[in-house]
Amino acid sequence: MKQFEIIPHTADVCIRVFADTLPELFVNALEGMNHIIKEGFCADVGRGEIVVNIEVHAADETALLVDFLSTVLSTAHTKEAVFCRAELDELQSGYLRGRIYGNRTPDGFDEDIKAVTYHDAKIERMPNGLLQTRIVFDI
């Protein structure tokens, strides 16, 4: 099953994310974002030298996904690291709590994602049973 795909977008970058379950959707969206930030970086890193606890509140599960990615992005910029792995201890419609694991990137990122936008984001269950959403990143 494909985890994400890049969708053409005029000025920015858009991905479509797929998963069987909500936690998987969050993990696959993170992988998609990291593919943009630094393609291939997460393939060869181990557990992660940096651990950051995260807690996010949002109005609904779509906003929660966007806010989760925003939190990881912001942490990536301040720590100068890519956070390849997330462990979610609690994930409900409007709340998540867990940890992200990352590694520093001395030679920087491939792409400067300014922000994760809410534009076109909507988590939906498709007729084939998969969960799906688009995420547009402001570059």
Binding site: F4, T10, S74, D120
Partner: protein, 515 residues
């Protein structure tokens, strides 16, 4: 909206990751939407309108400034759909507007203007954008471009050394919390007070490089953490420092007032508020999404999240936005000093001569301004997202030296093409809330540009055209290839013909420095 699709076709390809392996995609489908074009009325050859009645949620008409050729481009993406949504903002006045360089964004299209009633109309961070006070500064040198013909490569390399660039890269200046507060509250004025530049630099900056209502206390710790080491840095993407020569003058009287002459060497700087501004926008879009229900505001796109300007949330955002705008002006001020240092290092300090600011403009910002609406002068909150202020002759906010000819407007083109210096007009005051376009506007996705442009070949071709490229990333060069952008000349010709800015001079690059 009752859209009717006339046809579909297969176009393009993509790829995805499945179980860790890369795979090619199947089909991308493109629809031609007929009903929007049928509903657009031509007001003039340069101004088109979707009437208010097109969609029940519109409070005002939606207007597009474009030639007929550019209008087809505008219709091809979702710009007009987004503009129609903007026309539904609470308190929006006269019309929701886009410029000929428009392309789809998120919530608001990029290349747009929306003015809302002060004090209770909406303020929307999406109407300013994530890169708060992304803008342009033009520096004038005393050189004829031929004087330094053998030095451009060296200058480009030294500029690249003096001005940190690239994704997430920090600068030479590491600010304490107190110093960051001063930057956020006082902008370029603080940098000059610290010895980085002169009072003349500030005099020729929009708002004198400082929005006085800024409050550093409304900027989050996360935004501070992202920005504190980034003052004096260019960033990446479409940001650049460029050595240009003046290759055409269209209005000699105004050019003389601006201090421009044929074949003069000038320096163009394009950058914004870096990670700090991006985080401020993220923080407040999130806050406003939660607050909207309290004010009974329902809009079609979350990125249009807004609150009444007079609300506590609106007030906090306006102060934080101003702080981020000040950060961007401080940034461009420090980069100006980096340019001066680079010239000194290559030419010798006694040979550099005076490098002064012609002007510095923002193209992602919100201001409270006075404009005529329904024949009456009113205070409005003008949102400019990918649009430049263009105040006309006589306006009290135009600095005295330029007041008789109008405010300078700086329009960067794509790498390898041209940039323009325009002047604000009375026409912009009457038609577009004192605003005009901001650049060429993208027409090709970054992915497609990377896949279709070979960066090394492009750099070589530009070199053969007399343009030296000093870049940190081949990926960045490919993404910013000239063919990824609309023709800036077409864009500028429209605003000139529509009377919302006047062509003064054209600039051609001789060296481009990018992250």
């Amino acid at each position: 909206m009752g859209r009717r699709f006339s046809r579909w076709e297969v176009a393009g390809a993509c790829n995805f990751v499945e179980n860790g392996a890369h795979r090619d995609c199947t089909i991308i489908v493109v629809f031609e939407i007929m009903s929007i074009k049928d509903s657009i009325n031509a007001l003039t050859p340069w101004q088109w309108e979707v009437p208010r009645g097109y969609d029940a949620a519109m409070n005002v008409p939606a207007q597009i400034f474009a030639s007929e050729g550019l209008l087809d481009d505008v219709i091809r993406d979702r710009s007009i759909e987004q503009l129609i949504n903007v026309a539904g903002l609470p308190g929006i006045q006269r019309a929701a507007l886009v410029m000929p360089d428009v392309h789809q964004g998120y919530g608001f299209p990029i290349g747009g203007i929306a003015a809302t009633a002060y004090p209770d109309g909406a303020i929307s961070p999406g109407g300013i954008g994530y890169d708060i006070n992304c803008g342009v500064r033009l520096l004038k040198t005393e050189f004829h471009y031929n004087d330094l013909r053998n030095k451009y490569k060296q200058l480009a390399e030294e500029l690249y050394r003096q001005i940190p660039s690239g994704v997430g890269k920090g600068g030479q200046l590491k600010l304490s919390q107190n110093e960051l507060d001063n930057v956020l509250n006082k902008g370029a004025q603080y940098m000059v007070a610290q010895g980085y530049g002169t009072e003349q630099d500030i005099r020729f900056t929009e708002s004198f490089g400082r929005l006085e209502w800024a409050d550093a206390g409304e900027v989050s710790e996360q935004a501070r953490a992202r920005g504190k080491n980034q003052v004096g840095t260019m960033g990446s993407g479409n940001h650049f420092v460029e050595l240009d020569r003046v290759d055409s003058i269209f209005d000699s009287e105004t050019a003389e007032k601006f201090g421009l002459r044929m074949n003069q060497l000038v320096v163009l700087i394009h950058t914004g508020s870096r990670g700090l501004g991006h985080q401020v926008a993220t923080d407040y879009i999130r806050e406003m999404m939660s607050a909207m229900q309290k004010y009974n505001i329902n809009l079609k796109d979350r990125e249009l999240a807004c609150v009444p300007f007079s609300s506590p949330e609106g007030g906090r955002y306006f102060k934080a936005m101003a702080a981020a705008a000040n950060f961007a002006w401080a940034n461009r001020q420090l980069i100006t000093e980096g340019v001066r240092r680079a010239f000194d290092n290559v030419l010798g300090a006694t040979q550099t001569g005076h490098i002064g600011v012609l002007y510095d403009v923002a193209h992602n910002i919100a201001k409270i301004e006075d404009h005529i609406v329904d024949g009456v002068m009113k205070k409005v909150i003008v949102h400019r997202k990918g649009a430049t202020r263009a105040f006309g002759p006589g306006h009290p906010e135009v600095v005295e030296e330029y007041r008789s000819v109008g405010q300078p407007v700086l329009i960067p083109g794509s790498m390898g093409t041209a940039s323009y210096v325009l002047a604000g007009t009375e026409g912009s005051m009457l038609q577009t809330f004192g605003s005009t376009c901001h650049g060429a506007g993208r027409r090709m996705s970054r992915t497609k540009a990377r896949n279709s442009v070979e960066a090394t070949a492009l750099i070589k071709q530009l070199g053969q055209d007399g343009i030296h490229v000093q870049a940190g990333s081949c990926r960045g060069v490919a993404e910013e290839a000239p063919q990824a952008y609309k023709d800036v000349e077409s864009v500028v010709d429209v605003v000139h013909a529509a009377g919302i800015a006047k062509k003064i001079a054209r600039l051609r690059p001789v060296a481009v420095i990018k992250g």
